[in-house]
Symmetry: D4
Subunit: 76 residues, 8 copies
């Protein structure tokens, strides 16, 4: 399995909505609101890079209010 941390920037006024949507996704673990230059951090796992990309696009970036994602693929 591969792990990827995703740092998320959220549209102003959509913070709770995005958080609630992401918390409900079972492939997303450890979601936390953060202070600093990002708004949220979470962790996803996938069998390979293709699956991780799909999760980022279909489960995170597809949520209304998500503006940008910075993904940190972890080394095996």
């Amino acid at each position: 399995m591969m792990t990827c941390f995703v740092l998320i920037n959220v549209e102003a006024k959509k913070e709770d909505e995005v958080y609630d949507a992401l918390v409900a996704v079972k492939e997303i673990e450890g979601i936390r609101e953060v202070f600093g230059q990002y708004d949220l951090i979470c962790r996803i796992e996938g069998k390979n890079l293709r699956e991780i990309r799909k999760l980022i696009i279909n489960q995170i970036r597809s949520v209304p209010g998500v503006i940008t994602t910075t993904s940190l693929i972890t080394s095996e």
Copy 2:
């Protein structure tokens, strides 16, 4: 009490509107327009991180024209 500096980027053409809205919020102190890669800086105080987050979301990010906020929590 905890203190947090907030660096704010504002939508073009909304500068005065955002400034006026933030100046009117009593929990926001020392708001200043700045040159550089940010547009505004201000300071908020809260009893804990939860309260600071609430102020950022409800009093700053909720203002129409605020695009992004970078929050710098100060060490106690």
Copy 3:
């Protein structure tokens, strides 16, 4: 007189429109399209910081298609 360089990011598809609008402003000098992480660079002069800020807000950021500006105030 004070001088300020302004690095501008422009909305995709508005490049020519923004360039043409800025070229027509007499207080804006030396506007050039650039490669890299910014789209345009220009120079403005003002009697003081207040005047420079006014020029940035009223003559640059007010142009439809300007997304963000990074201003570099020069030392006297």
Copy 4:
């Protein structure tokens, strides 16, 4: 000939659409989806900077869903 790498950020939910549009452009080579702070990387070639700029504006930035481009002109 001059070569330019273009790092592209894409609007959430437009990833496939942008990728498909860019893949179809014959002047764009080696387009790949990437993890990290950018979403796509590609390479363009042109006779001079003017032609490269035209390709970036007319073939890349004109695609709906492209938000920002960071261009890396290569040294000859």
Copy 5:
């Protein structure tokens, strides 16, 4: 308890040394090597901001080879 994610940049040629030093610290959890603009990510917990700051300074930044740290305090 408060949680803080720390994104770490490491001096070239010190990667293994820094990783091994941080893995041995019991207050540091979940350390992973990452691809992208950072080199390592980890998580620390503390009773308050003062304790978190101490951990960052005494347990992370004090390790030879650590260049910069970006800390993301999580909201309670």
Copy 6:
């Protein structure tokens, strides 16, 4: 008088030394340790940009352990 906020990055292992040196400078006000992508924030005042630049160079950047400074000149 002009005001400038200075965001400071400090060499690992020099945090206390830099903080103590800056706290002792009477032209530097409101110095605070922060979490995020910067390490310290402070505020300086000067009669004009020349004086502010002098303070940044002679009182802040001259302190051993200061790596970079990002200065945010405030609008009058």
Copy 7:
């Protein structure tokens, strides 16, 4: 096979030395000097993330004069 683009920042005065060292490494393809916020771009391939990480650490970051690397793992 997995592909990774690496954006490299080089110490001032070590540009040619680093370029020459990297050109000689057979696992590094398409190395080019670039203008902008990075100094060099190259491409590496590996059987998996572990191998790519090894190449980045042993063949790129180990070269004297390499300061930082930003790695863009491509999606399969």
Copy 8:
């Protein structure tokens, strides 16, 4: 002729030395100290990208105290 703006970051305590060295180079025009995330801005001209690169490496980056340069090639 091609024009390139160069944004320069200078080592703390080397500000005057670097400024004086660059002012003396006849190919460097319009050098100014700036506030913000960069320390100096200047402009160079060259017959082609190769010549501009040579000027950046031999006349700017070779100056002791220059840490990083961000070059903005202008469109013809």
